[in-house]
């Protein structure tokens, strides 16, 4: 499995600025994430969170600033560049093919083949999938089950497993539990914490303050395109974060 084992920094953002014409969407954003660290990105609607996610996942290009992945300067012209550099994204609306078996989703677009005829190696994909979901403690009936037979939480678990499997740098999660119920959210959070144990670097966008305190090590706050501050979760409070997000005090 390609978990980040190097001591190099999986993600470093240095002075990221994004302007759309005369509008400045992100004023200046700096962040470093260490292996095995979970950083939460919080802020109100329109604060620039999704712009930032799109920059890191290669959908937008920053106007100024640098992205460093595993210690190397990265320039993404589209999402496949970011993916090639080991950045994987978990979307809130499950970018999965639900009529396909679990293992096909895990290997979607990167299917394993065998032999000179490059025939799909279904049994190996199923085996590796089973191994991965077992490691991450995602309970599903079988790696060969059709995805639509799983619950929303199990499916998001699969989406996260897929990201983990392919990410060598960073797993980016855009509100991974926004569409889930309480119990399913708890299960997905467990999976996220499992990633941390495996040494993955995670940047998670969340609206849910309780969740931020449950899973993140640090939290960074955006307000109207400005990075207001970054706090260690152990040293901040719910009230301080809300104040930073809304701008009532800082």
């Amino acid at each position: 499995m390609s978990t980040a084992t190097s001591t190099r920094t999986p993600l470093k953002l240095d002075g990221i600025v994004k302007r759309f014409g005369a509008v400045t969407a992100i004023q200046r954003f700096d962040l470093e994430i260490a292996p095995g660290e979970i950083v939460a990105l919080v802020g109100d609607n329109g604060a620039g969170k999704s712009t930032l996610v799109k920059i890191i996942s290669g959908l937008y290009q920053p106007t100024e600033g640098e992205i460093w992945i595993n210690g190397d300067r990265a320039e993404f012209s589209d999402p496949s560049d970011a993916r090639a550099r080991g950045v994987e994204v978990v979307y809130q609306d499950l970018a999965l093919a639900d009529l396909q078996p679990v293992y096909m989703n895990l290997f979607l677009g990167r299917e394993l083949t065998r032999g000179p005829l490059r025939i799909l190696d279904r049994s190996r994909m199923a085996r590796e999938t089973q191994q991965l979901v077992d490691d991450l403690d995602i309970r599903i009936p079988s790696a060969k089950a059709q995805l639509s037979d799983l619950s929303g939480g199990q499916r998001q678990g699969i989406a996260i497993a897929r990201a983990t499997h392919w990410a060598s740098g960073l797993v980016l999660m855009d509100e991974p539990t926004a569409a889930l119920g309480v119990a399913e959210t708890a299960k997905v959070e467990e999976t996220i914490l499992k990633l941390k144990e495996r040494g993955a670097a995670v940047l998670i966008v969340s609206h849910n303050m309780e969740q931020v305190f449950r899973v993140a090590d640090r939290v960074t706050v955006l307000r109207r395109g400005t990075q207001v501050g970054t706090r260690s979760v152990a040293e901040t409070t719910h009230n301080e974060l809300v104040a930073m997000i809304t701008g009532l005090a800082s």
Partner: protein, 327 residues
């Protein structure tokens, strides 16, 4: 590892019944029922080896087209132009055969015409992002008109004996050549859909286009390829008609669109994309051919056949599509 962990309590009979994928099984049950019906009512002739072989041979062009149609439906699109592509490709092949005298150049010309039609459909669907229904509805008319215009409504004879042997009347190892063509095309279709990355990408595009795109699948390339293949299977069907009938006419393939779609849909391929069955399409095609055959044996007139066939297709299609929402 696969099935043991699914259930802890012993499944009841009701669970077992519920677990049978009825929708996928409709075509096989239907095939068995229709077969039994004709075997009982028309037994003395229906069950002869000649007649049973005939059913498969008659189905050959439909089966070939169905393989392309499975892929098109699997990406969640539709190709209405296959019927008229049959005519245009058959005529192009016949004309090329007449002027060059070479069976393989003629066949290549036919296939190229089909590929060109398919690629044109694909271009409008991917580059201009038009719905496949509208694009192929328009090209269906355009191609049918072209086939009529280019041949002045005349039929073109196919006399080359190599050609008619290879694409129509020949037998190889005791089996009619059209059965061999059917077998080859079905096996290739199965291989492409089940064993190749391309097949996995086709199903992913039909299932969730956005997921396919963010997973790095070149969605437009997949669509282009699928429509090109669909045009080419229609062209091959046209070539097989040339070989079997000894000539081409603009009316070839006219009624095939409905038969092909019925065969594929009854065979368990979803109109909404993402789910496809090659074996189902083959059996669906044989079912359509068998119905045709049995109705002729029963002495029904052409118009009566049309009515009965339409009703049977309607019944089969509603059985195979019903209950899809509850899944």
């Amino acid at each position: 590892m696969t099935d043991t962990a699914v259930r802890h309590e012993a499944p009841t009979i009701l669970d077992t019944v519920r677990r049978v994928p009825w929708r996928a099984a409709v075509v096989y049950i239907g095939f068995a029922l229709v077969f039994a019906f004709f075997a009982i009512t028309q037994g003395e002739y229906f069950l002869t080896a000649t007649n049973l072989t005939n059913i498969v041979v008659q189905a050959a062009p439909i089966t070939v087209m169905a393989m392309g149609a499975v892929l098109v439906l699997a990406i969640g699109a539709i190709d209405l132009s296959i019927g008229s592509t049959v005519a245009l490709a058959a005529l192009a092949t016949a004309v090329a055969l007449e002027s060059t005298g070479s069976w393989w150049i003629a066949a290549l010309v036919g296939l190229a015409v089909g590929a060109l039609v398919g690629a044109m459909n694909g271009f409008f669907i991917t580059a201009l992002r038009l719905p496949s229904f509208l694009v192929t509805l328009a090209s269906m008319g355009l191609i049918a008109g072209l086939a009529r215009q280019l041949t002045d409504l005349q039929s073109v004879p196919v006399l080359d004996s190599t050609f008619t042997w290879l694409f129509g009347s020949g037998t190889l190892l005791g089996l009619p050549i059209l059965i061999w063509w059917t077998a080859v095309v079905v096996l290739v279709g199965w291989h492409v859909l089940r064993q190749r990355k391309f097949g996995a990408h086709v199903l992913a595009v039909g299932n969730n286009e956005r997921a396919a795109r963010v997973s790095g699948i070149k969605v437009n390339r997949v669509k282009m390829a699928v429509f090109t293949v669909s045009g080419m299977t229609a062209a091959l069907a046209g070539i097989l008609y040339d070989g079997r009938l000894g000539g081409a006419r603009y009316t070839l393939g006219e009624a095939d669109l409905m038969t092909v779609l019925a065969a594929v849909i009854v065979g368990g391929t979803a109109l909404t994309g993402g789910k496809a069955s090659i074996a189902g399409a083959l059996v669906g095609s044989l079912l359509m051919s068998m119905i045709n055959n049995g109705l002729i044996l029963a002495g029904l007139s052409v118009s009566q056949q049309m009515i009965v066939r339409g009703a049977i297709i309607l019944l089969a299609v509603s059985l195979s599509l019903r209950g899809k929402k509850s899944q």
